[in-house]
Symmetry: C2
Subunit: 367 residues, 2 copies
């Protein structure tokens, strides 16, 4: 295990690098606030308890983007998704919902679906694989909803094929089950499917998307669905304490992040494929998946964190380059990193990435 002092020092080192492989440029609070000023000036007033031109216009925009009738801006994805499942559970008079064992609901929400919403989970799919149509045949209990995640974050941003997705949607429909999408990082999936976000979103009864991950917002999420579904969601938002007097900084940043980053998604995805290929050329690194279908992948290095990370820190200082975040998971003999490609990676040419990654692999191997 890495000490918390080392972690802090490592993050400081990364923050000081001029170049970075992952995510978007780090900005100070001052820079973030200043960046919102031009958009803020375009609206006469802030949202007030979920109402007003700023938020309602943005909700309409995102609903349309995702092929749905209505949308609701929310403080967080945890709130959005547990709420969505609760609504489907009440509508279907059934408190059982299905999701993958690596779902955010299972790993990162202190069992909110259960403790707070009284839902029971049915875990579906193999641990390191996307859910497929055959997995659904193993479900032998009645369900209110099936949650799919696109891309699946904890397994390196893998995606099922479009045919698979359609088959799963058909199955859900045949069972009278709601299909909910955890689309926290959905934005980059259009490329692989060669479908619009609306075409992907339309397969689902409800969709959650996030604004601060790939889109570089401050915080915040959107839940989309039918007008009736969103009316229900507004009531649950009040209950959960998510109906704030205003969320204007988050809304402005989300709106801006969408405008700035959606057009770059094809570049992020292409860059991710290139970078992954470069890593895969060099033992002892490999990516999961080998050919990333979106802007996210995992990088596995077969060394312990204690052995590896001091070398990575030294390398980063020497080359003024943030190549790896802290490991997302680790074993005694390997580390797994989440690489999310955003604006930072685009600033460095493929040729320079090739040189950097070759040097990195060389130094890590020879050390």
């Amino acid at each position: 295990m890495l000490s918390s002092d080392f972690k802090k020092q490592y993050l400081r080192t990364l923050a000081n690098c001029d170049n970075s492989l992952f995510r978007h440029p780090q900005r100070t609070m001052t820079e973030r606030l200043q960046s919102l000023l031009p958009l803020a000036a375009q609206y006469s007033e802030a949202d007030c308890y979920g109402q007003g031109e700023l938020v309602n216009e943005f909700e309409q925009q995102v609903a349309a983007m995702l092929g749905h009738e209505a949308a609701l801006f929310l403080p967080s994805g945890t709130m959005a998704q547990t709420m969505a499942l609760r609504i489907w559970a009440e509508k279907k008079h059934c408190n059982q919902v299905a999701f993958h064992p690596t779902s955010h609901l299972q790993l990162h929400e202190q069992n909110a679906y259960q403790v707070l919403h009284g839902l029971d989970s049915c875990l579906v799919g193999k641990l390191n694989e996307v859910i497929n149509r055959a997995d659904l045949d193993t479900i032998h209990i009645p369900l209110a909803a099936l949650l799919l995640e696109l891309p699946m974050r904890e397994i390196g941003g893998q995606l099922p094929t479009w045919k698979e997705l359609e088959a799963q949607q058909k199955w859900a429909k045949s069972q009278g089950i709601a299909l909910h999408l955890d689309g926290a990082r959905l934005w980059s999936c259009s490329e692989y499917y060669q479908k619009t976000l609306a075409e992907i979103g339309s397969l689902f009864d409800s969709v959650y998307v996030s604004f601060y991950k790939d889109l570089d917002g401050i915080a915040g999420a959107m839940l989309t669905g039918s007008a009736e579904f969103i009316d229900e969601a507004r009531i649950w938002t009040r209950r959960l304490g998510g109906n704030l007097i205003t969320l204007f900084p988050d809304i402005l940043a989300a709106k801006q992040g969408l405008t700035d980053n959606i057009p770059l998604m094809p570049d992020f995805v292409a860059k991710a494929a290139t970078i992954a290929k470069l890593f895969n050329q060099h033992f002892p690194t490999h990516t999961i998946p080998l050919c990333p279908p979106c802007n996210l992948f995992h990088l596995v290095i077969e060394q312990s964190a204690k052995e590896l990370m001091p070398k990575v820190m030294k390398w980063s200082e020497q080359y003024n380059m943030a190549l790896l975040p802290l490991p997302r998971t680790q074993t005694d003999t390997s580390c797994r990193f989440e690489i999310s490609i955003g604006q930072n990676a685009l600033k460095v040419s493929n040729h320079d990435w090739q040189k950097a990654i070759a040097s990195f692999a060389h130094d890590i191997i020879l050390d």
Copy 2:
């Protein structure tokens, strides 16, 4: 009933007035964001999932102000309070909690305490009066917690005496019941009690305070209590979807609002007493309570909203003064307004308020 068109027009009229009796100066989103820049520059990084110097230092500051060991910044009061009651309910192995029939939990939260947290309510106290010690003797069921509100918003900001408060605290202690404070507008209560906020807060096992009402923040709340209680609250925050990647704009604005407005609280309270007195000199207006103990009171005018409000709008336009918000409640023959005194009222001298209110009463009576 007033039409929504009239309401919009009325709010526009108020927004255009140079002087206002209630609340703080209205600021555009741009002005708000700009006002945060100096404070933002003092911190090297934003809070991240509830951690970091900015938020943890502020939590410590507010915990100490309220006489408690620990505190937790949260997106909303609804989240803070239902969470607090849920924690007490689990700790006491009892799902019954007591509060006043006008509590925010009863009126404005879509029954979250019940539907979301599985709590049962025991309503205590008379509808238009503060809860007193004798009311507690009418409780004949086991309770996990008693929630008191200081000041009581829906009845015009009334406060029980200090002796009453102490007696209620003693009762709660003798019953093994947790005492929770809805202190959304607590900040102005020191004057009446001649006690510090820490002395008031110390009577309670947990306290919720708000940053955007009297303090002019953007949004956000704080929950304070023992370190053990706050540890539990962090888990519930995660479950409720309130543990955001960052809340920095809200935290900065809250911190600034506290610094700017706490020193002015005695002035707000004195001004509220003066203004209420002026209204009470003029039939057909009177305040609830007659002598406000804090910076909040209700003003009752014995006319229907349909009759009254067009005259108020005309008067406001003529005198360039926002004297009344939209009615908070109304009957066929009367309107009740919530007057919350902040920085706006201080900008006008008592002499000028006297002239304004006399003119207002004259015009409203003669019309």
